[in-house]
Every structure is written in structure tokens, then in C-alpha cells.
């Protein structure tokens, strides 16, 4: 199998590693995933971003073949998910998955290594997951952070082409989270593909090169972190002291969607604060009290999920 991702596989679209095609999954009256379509290309680091209950875990389960769609098709590497899993092309870290008591860290990693065709070496896995000091320890004697690293180790031990992580840092503090993503980056730099589910906006922004936002089981936005932020239109604001500035002219500035006046200040809502400020300074070089508030991922996200989550 040629894994060179530069090789043209088809003239139009490169072969997707993971595909959801109009997938729906219901649990009783709850529609966890609702006609979701998604393609993940080789080498991407994709964040599946959404609030709790958005359908992230179900989406992950559908892709891994742990749940079957009620409608639509899930494919991994062009075939049924179970086949890709059986072939050792996927490694996963499920949310809150337990570890068997009394097993030693190195034994668990050794087990997973024995299951995959071309695993990483034990030493590599231990180093990557920062477990060198506890390789001989039984899992029930590990701290929460160490357990989480063991679960990462089990996900990467087989050197899978696709790494799927469901809320991998939920139980970690800020430092541990940073260390975790450093380790994942170390793994991914070899051209592998990562899909991770998260409800942490800053995490999606910082780690992913593509963000897929879902809520209520439906796709709300899909693009680079910047594109997703831009999609949450009008959330960045540029404000200046009014000082007799012509309000109508400001409304015509690039990317401006609305202008409000309040207590001597004009506030411009813009989808592109850079462009707005550049044009503003050309028209009125002497503006006073310029303030730019960029829409954080959080605002973008809240706005998006609000629009789509509650129709």
C-alpha cells in the first residue's frame, strides 16, 4: 500500500480517509446524529467541535463502527469501518474508557502492539506518551493524568494512519493538556490523520487545521479555525470615539455589517476587523480611542451553535 499522500489518487478528489455520507443515528426519540456528511482527507488534523450533547461521541462511534447508522453510510479508507479497524489502520482513544486492573502499563502497550501489523516500538510509545517511568506499574496505581497518557499510548501503539480521540483532555489540567497536545503533534508530524472531538473552543483553535462544528447532530460550520470564526459574522467589533464621524460612511466600510452609537462612541460590527480598520484609518486618519475586539472562538462557537442548535 502506497502511503505517499502526494501521489494523485484520482484527478478530482484525493481519497478520503473517513467519510460520513448523510448519516443519521437515533437513540429512541433522540436523534444524536442527523444527516451528517463529512469527509476527512489524509494528513488533516480535524477538530469535531460542539457543546455537550452535540452528537460528537456518536459521530466518532459511527466512524469507528462502534455504532451503526440508521440511515446513510460511514466509510473508513473506502470500506466499512469494521474492516479498517480489523486491518489495524485506526487507533482510538474513547471517552472515559477504563483500563483492566492489575495489568501493567508495558503489558497493555505490548498487547496493542501485538495486534497491529506495523506497530511503533515499545520504547517509542513509552517516550511519546511520557510513560517511561511507570512502564512496570499496574494501572490501578496510576494517577488520572498517567491513565490518560496510557490511553493515548494504546491509541498510537499500533502506529495507525488515523487517530481518533474523543474528548481526550477532558480530565486534564491546563499543563497536562498542553503536554498532551505536544505529544499528539509529535505523533502526527509523520503525515498521519487525526480526528478529535472536543467542546473546548481554544483547543480546536490551537490544535486543528480544520474545525467541524456540530450541534444537535447537524453540521454547522466546516473550515479552518479562521474561516469558522469568520462564519460567525458580525461578532468582531471596532469602536471609535464618535467625534462627528459620518456614520453612513462607516457603514460602507469593508466587512462592516452594523454600526451602533452609544454614549459618544461608534461601534462597528465586522466580519473582518483587519480590513475594516485599514479602511477606517484611510478615511479618518485622526480617529480617537480606537478599540478592536476580535471574536474569540468562544463567541463564534456560541453564535454558531445557537443558530443551528435551536432552530
Amino acid at each position: 500500500m502506497n502511503t505517499d499522500i502526494d501521489r494523485p489518487t484520482s484527478p478530482t478528489t484525493p481519497a478520503a480517509i473517513a467519510t460520513l455520507d448523510g448519516v443519521t443515528r437515533r437513540y429512541g426519540h433522540l436523534t444524536a446524529v442527523d444527516s451528517l456528511s463529512l469527509q476527512i482527507q489524509p494528513g488533516q488534523t480535524v477538530a469535531l467541535l460542539g457543546p455537550n450533547g452535540a452528537g460528537k461521541t456518536t459521530t466518532v462511534e459511527l466512524l469507528l463502527g462502534l455504532a451503526n447508522p440508521d440511515a446513510g453510510v460511514a466509510r473508513l479508507f473506502g470500506g466499512p469501518p469494521a474492516a479498517a479497524v480489523a486491518a489495524g489502520r485506526v487507533g482510538a482513544m474513547l471517552q472515559d474508557a477504563g483500563l483492566p486492573q492489575w495489568a501493567k502499563v508495558a503489558e497493555l502497550i505490548g498487547l496493542v502492539r501485538s495486534l497491529y501489523p506495523q506497530p511503533l516500538s515499545l520504547a517509542e510509545v513509552l517516550r511519546l506518551a511520557d510513560l517511561e517511568g511507570v512502564a512496570g506499574r499496574q494501572v490501578q496505581r496510576l494517577s488520572g493524568g498517567q491513565r490518560q497518557r496510557v490511553r493515548l499510548a494504546l491509541a498510537v501503539a499500533g502506529s495507525p494512519q488515523l487517530l481518533v480521540l474523543d474528548e481526550p483532555t477532558a480530565a486534564l489540567d491546563v499543563d497536562a493538556r498542553r503536554g498532551f497536545w505536544q505529544r499528539v503533534r509529535g505523533y502526527v508530524s509523520a503525515g498521519r490523520t487525526v480526528l478529535f472531538a472536543t467542546h473546548r473552543l481554544e483547543e480546536a483553535d490551537a490544535v486543528a487545521d480544520r474545525v467541524v462544528v456540530i450541534a444537535g447532530g447537524r453540521l454547522l460550520a466546516d473550515g479552518t479555525p479562521d474561516q469558522v470564526k469568520a462564519q460567525a459574522a458580525g461578532r468582531s467589533t471596532v469602536s471609535v470615539a464618535a467625534d462627528g464621524l459620518p456614520r453612513e460612511a462607516l457603514e460602507r466600510l469593508p466587512a462592516v455589517v452594523a454600526v451602533e452609537e452609544d454614549r459618544g462612541r461608534l461601534t462597528l460590527s465586522t466580519t473582518n476587523p483587519d480590513a475594516t480598520v485599514r479602511a477606517l484609518l484611510q478615511q479618518a486618519p485622526n480617529v480617537q480611542g480606537l478599540e478592536v475586539r476580535r471574536a474569540g472562538m468562544e463567541e463564534a462557537f456560541l453564535q454558531l451553535t445557537h443558530q443551528g442548535g435551536t432552530p
Binding site: L66, V85, A87, G91, G98, P100, W102, G110, L115
Partner: protein, 244 residues
């Protein structure tokens, strides 16, 4: 296949290194035998080697049902789901539990037989080496349906419910399963039930070897029926677990 063996090996190492498991599955039955033997030494036997066979059957039940809580816990805590994201064949997890349960049942039964040989079973049986080995081996094989019941429980109930169901099964087999009270000495209806339980099959297999008679066909039929029945139900439960 190598993956399944690797999983079996890890599962065996994991359970065999746990001191509490060793005490409960291996030490407890032996201790029960020694205590009963010391307390009732002069009581005439119900059947040849009856006390040893009864306690060995108890050991078989304890070890045989062990797959239940173990599978239930790992289903509840998500470990089995984690395994399903790897190339390991899903059935390997269940097979490993059954084989490891059997790996405890053999020494558990053998220890009771060894204790009986060492202190002398006061019920008038002194089995030779060959007979003792035959007794242990056949009682061990007869444990198979009990491990199937254990797997069925673990695949039907998750977490705490699996522990509860295992305890219930243990109490039923212990009290109503013809282990310490022969079905003939039970109230009629209860005795009829006892004769259909696999624990009594294990007892009958042991008694037939200890008494030098041939294996009772009725017991073999009961054991075979439980193996097939519990095994088939476990397979059905397994399908439900795998495809959700």
C-alpha cells in the same frame, strides 16, 4: 490468532497476579474443606468421597462463574469498547475470560483433592494417584457449563448488576445445586430442580469417579445441555453487545 493468544496471556497474567483472587478462588475452597473435615470427621459418608467432591464442586462454581463480574465490569468501564477499536477479534475477549476461569478451576479442584489426600478423607475413600487425577480432570471438564453461565451473566448484565447476578447464581448453585445436600434429601420439588443444575452434574461426575462407577448418563446430559444452552444464549447476548 496471535492477537487472541496475546490477549489471553495478558488476561491470565493479570488475574493470576492478584492476591485476593487467588485467596478467594484457590484458598477459600481448600480452607472450607479442611474446616468441614475437622468439624465433621466422624460423620459417616453420604457417598464415597462425598465431602471432598462437594467442596471441589463448590470450587468449580466459584472459579467457573468468575467470568461474569469480570466481563460485566469491563463492559461497564468501556475497556471492551476500547478493544473493539483495535484489530483484536471481539470474541477473543469473551474466550479469554472463559479460558482463564477454567485455568483457576483446575488448580482449585486439584487443591481440594490434594488436601483430602494429605489429611486423609475421613469418609472412607483413599484414592490412588491415577484415580485422583481422573477425578480432578473430569470434574474440571464438567465445570465448562458453569463458565458458560458466567460468560452469559457478564454479557447480559453490566457492572454492578453482573456482580449481583453472579452472587445470585452462586447462591442458587451452592444451596439448591445438590452440592452439600443431595437432591434425594431435599423437598421433592427442590430436589427435582437440583438434579437439573450443572453443579449437581459436577458432583455426580466426582462421586462416580470416587465410587468407582461409570459416569452417569443423566449428569452428562445435564452438563451438555447447560453448555449448549448457556453457550448459545451467551452468543446471542454477545451479538447484542457488539451491534448497538
Amino acid at each position: 490468532m496471535t492477537g487472541s493468544l496475546a490477549y489471553l496471556w495478558l488476561e491470565a497474567k493479570r488475574q493470576w497476579r492478584n492476591r485476593e483472587i487467588l485467596i478467594f478462588r484457590l484458598g477459600l475452597p481448600t480452607a472450607v474443606y479442611l474446616i468441614l473435615n475437622a468439624a465433621n470427621g466422624d460423620t459417616p459418608p453420604d457417598s464415597p468421597g462425598g465431602r471432598m467432591v462437594a467442596v471441589a464442586a463448590l470450587a468449580a462454581v466459584i472459579s467457573g462463574l468468575a467470568a461474569g463480574p469480570s466481563l460485566g465490569d469491563e463492559r461497564a468501564n468501556g475497556w471492551l469498547r476500547q478493544l473493539r477499536t483495535t484489530p483484536l477479534r471481539p470474541s477473543a475477549a469473551v474466550a479469554a475470560k472463559i479460558v482463564v476461569a477454567m485455568s483457576f478451576a483446575l488448580p482449585a479442584i486439584a487443591l481440594v483433592a490434594a488436601a483430602a489426600g494429605l489429611v486423609g478423607d475421613n469418609q472412607g475413600t483413599a484414592l490412588g494417584w491415577a484415580e485422583s487425577i481422573k477425578l480432578v480432570g473430569l470434574m474440571w471438564l464438567a465445570t465448562t457449563p458453569i463458565t458458560a453461565i458466567g460468560a452469559l451473566i457478564g454479557l447480559t448484565f453490566g457492572g454492578e448488576a453482573a456482580h449481583g447476578a453472579t452472587t445470585l447464581a452462586f447462591v442458587v448453585l451452592w444451596l439448591a445445586g445438590g452440592i452439600f445436600t443431595s437432591p434425594s434429601q431435599m423437598p421433592h420439588a427442590l430436589g427435582a430442580i437440583a438434579e437439573t443444575l450443572p453443579s449437581y452434574g459436577v458432583v455426580q461426575v466426582g462421586e462416580s469417579v470416587a465410587g468407582g462407577s461409570s459416569l452417569p448418563a443423566a449428569a452428562l446430559a445435564v452438563l451438555a445441555a447447560w453448555t449448549v444452552g448457556a453457550g448459545a444464549l451467551a452468543a446471542l447476548a454477545w451479538r447484542r453487545v457488539v451491534t448497538r
